[in-house]
Amino acid sequence: MTAADVAKVARLARLDVTAEELERMTVQLDGMLEHFADIDALDLHTVEPMTQPYPLVNVLRPDVVQPCLDREEVLAAAPSAEDGRFRVPPIIGLDL
């Protein structure tokens, strides 16, 4: 794993990591991936992936209105709110 890989991942994860963090994480993540290579020896071609332990699928409930969280209480916990909504900085003009 190179510093450029780590920088790309940080951007994908929306983390403005510092140069010092980038350097340290590159060493640490590279070391981990080296350790994780132990599974490369396994023949997994015929093995089905397992995403969850308990076989529940499509858990639905009747489409009936239920009590829900109080809007004022939820908005009161937000960093910024206005007119019953969350307020955020401008979203156009992004430098992606």
Binding site: F36, L44, M50, I91
Partner: protein
């Protein structure tokens, strides 16, 4: 005194819940900064709850199955109007607008929620050193860690700050600190206890369970908090048989499995206590059988790809919009990056990065996809082992409690603390740690009892028998 006895005394009016609570509060105050088990003590709410229990008793009403029992809650469980931080700066000051299901269940059961306990930030760690608010110390030796990530909950029970506590276990975060603090800790089957209101770390692995000073207390706690919850779509849609009822059944005729290809690394003192445990169960009429779980050894790798991958997705919600910290910036994207950089600690960032990488285009198959297949191998190997044995016995932690700071800056050294606990989470099975005597420096050693899906009754029979063998 067990909690069943406490409940009986409170219900009869022989002891006031308020009196028991004030005793606990005084004890917490006497060692508050020394141990740092709590991020927040709910003194006012707890006092009101205790008084309400006493009033119910005075009126002749049933105050509930946990009347007067003091409970400490890991600070990743939502408590309405009470700070819930996950020991992270990104949630500092946040007061949830709702109670998690376990919290509301405890309240209606007459339990007294006494405070929110410290943890490794977002439950990522094995020592409770990764808290943004400073480490928790082991009450048995304050130079040492209590284990983690539910270290505050384990310390609370070990120090007697609360009768019991709740934690969450994603890769060992209940069982390992229970072992290091000399208390009982249970991770039930995935889906046994509702996770509604538990802040998500790795959703296919997380499970809530109790810390207690006895196996009987743990059984009673699970009998109350277990069961289906429509608010958690991963909750198993059936009632669970009482665990309290099976405690006296013994182990006569049960097959106890010894995993012959278990990864090495357990210290000799830990290994010795495990052998004593096998002998004790044999003496009580169980048969010891050798089994193999070849994929056990690959658990660590599978876990450290799957759990960070799920975490990277779950923790995307901390973006400075709906709750918690916001660092202002010119546009939303800059705000996200600055907020998350400022709000998350080192270990959380490391795992978000690892998980993002394992899921990213070009690496998904090589890392995350492969880890899911290894997870299947582990699950199937356990299934084969459980055809030969009713439960498996292993060490909980490779060592007794280690000194604060001793794992240094090497994340892998810390990850290895969970070698014996992680595979259970991947399989979705129950596991529990039972304190079983002492090892090096006179510190407690835990023995881990593992069982197949929903085999809690058998697991508890074995745990209760182990406990009796020490008496």
């Amino acid at each position: 005194m067990g909690i069943a006895e406490t409940v009986a005394q409170v219900k009869s009016g022989a002891v006031k819940a308020d009196f028991l609570f004030e005793q606990k509060l005084a004890l917490i105050a006497s060692r508050y900064t020394e141990i740092h088990a709590f991020n927040h003590v709910m003194a006012d709410e707890a006092r009101a709850a205790a008084v309400a229990v006493d009033e119910a008793v005075a009126r002749g009403d049933d105050p509930g199955p946990l009347a007067g029992v003091t409970v400490a809650l890991k600070d990743n469980m939502c408590t309405r109007g009470v700070p819930t931080t996950c020991s992270s700066k990104i949630l500092e000051g946040w007061r949830p607008p709702y109670d998690g299901t376990v919290v509301s269940t405890l309240k209606t059961s007459g339990a007294i929620a006494i405070g929110k306990t410290n943890l490794d930030e977002f439950a990522m760690g094995s020592s409770t050193e990764n808290s943004a608010f400073g480490p928790t110390r082991n009450p048995l030796d304050t130079n040492r860690v209590p284990g983690g990530s539910s270290g505050g909950s384990a310390a609370s029970v070990a120090a007697g700050f609360s009768d019991v506590a709740l934690g969450s276990d994603t890769g060992g975060s209940i069982r390992q600190p229970a072992a290091l603090c000399g208390v009982v800790g249970v991770k039930p089957t995935y889906g046994y206890v509702s996770r509604y209101g538990l802040v998500a770390f790795a959703s296919s692995l997380d499970q809530i369970g109790p810390f207690t000073t006895s196996v009987a207390d743990a059984a009673l706690m699970l009998d109350v908090i277990g069961g289906h919850d429509p608010l958690d779509s991963t909750s198993i849609p059936q009632a669970h048989p009482s665990l309290v009822d099976v405690l006296g059944q013994g182990v006569e005729g049960l097959r106890i499995g010894r995993i012959t290809d278990l990864p090495e690394g357990a210290d000799p003192d830990v290994q010795e206590r495990l052998e004593v445990a096998f002998d004790a169960l044999r003496a009580q009429g169980a048969t010891i059988v050798d089994v193999q779980v070849p994929a056990f050894t690959f658990g660590l790798t599978a876990y450290y790809l799957i759990a960070p991958a799920e975490a990277s997705s779950n923790l995307a919600r901390y973006d400075g919009v709906r709750y918690g910290l916001r660092v202002e910036a010119a546009d939303t994207n800059a705000m996200y990056g600055a907020t998350r950089e400022a709000g998350f600690g080192d270990e959380v960032k490391r795992r978000i990065m690892l998980g993002t990488y394992a899921l990213s285009a070009g690496y998904y198959d090589a890392y995350y996809g492969k880890a899911l297949k290894v997870r299947r191998l582990i699950h199937d190997d356990f299934d084969r082992a459980y055809q030969q044995a009713d439960v498996l016995l292993t060490p909980t932690s490779p060592s007794v409690a280690f000194e604060i700071g001793s794992k240094g800056d090497n994340p892998l050294a810390m990850y290895l603390c969970d070698t014996y606990t992680i595979p259970t989470n991947l399989a979705g099975h129950p596991g529990m740690s039972v304190p079983y005597g002492t090892g090096a420096h006179g510190l407690p050693v835990g023995v881990q009892v593992l069982a197949g899906t929903l085999q809690e009754p058998t697991m508890f029979r074995v745990a209760a028998s182990l406990e009796r063998s020490l008496a």
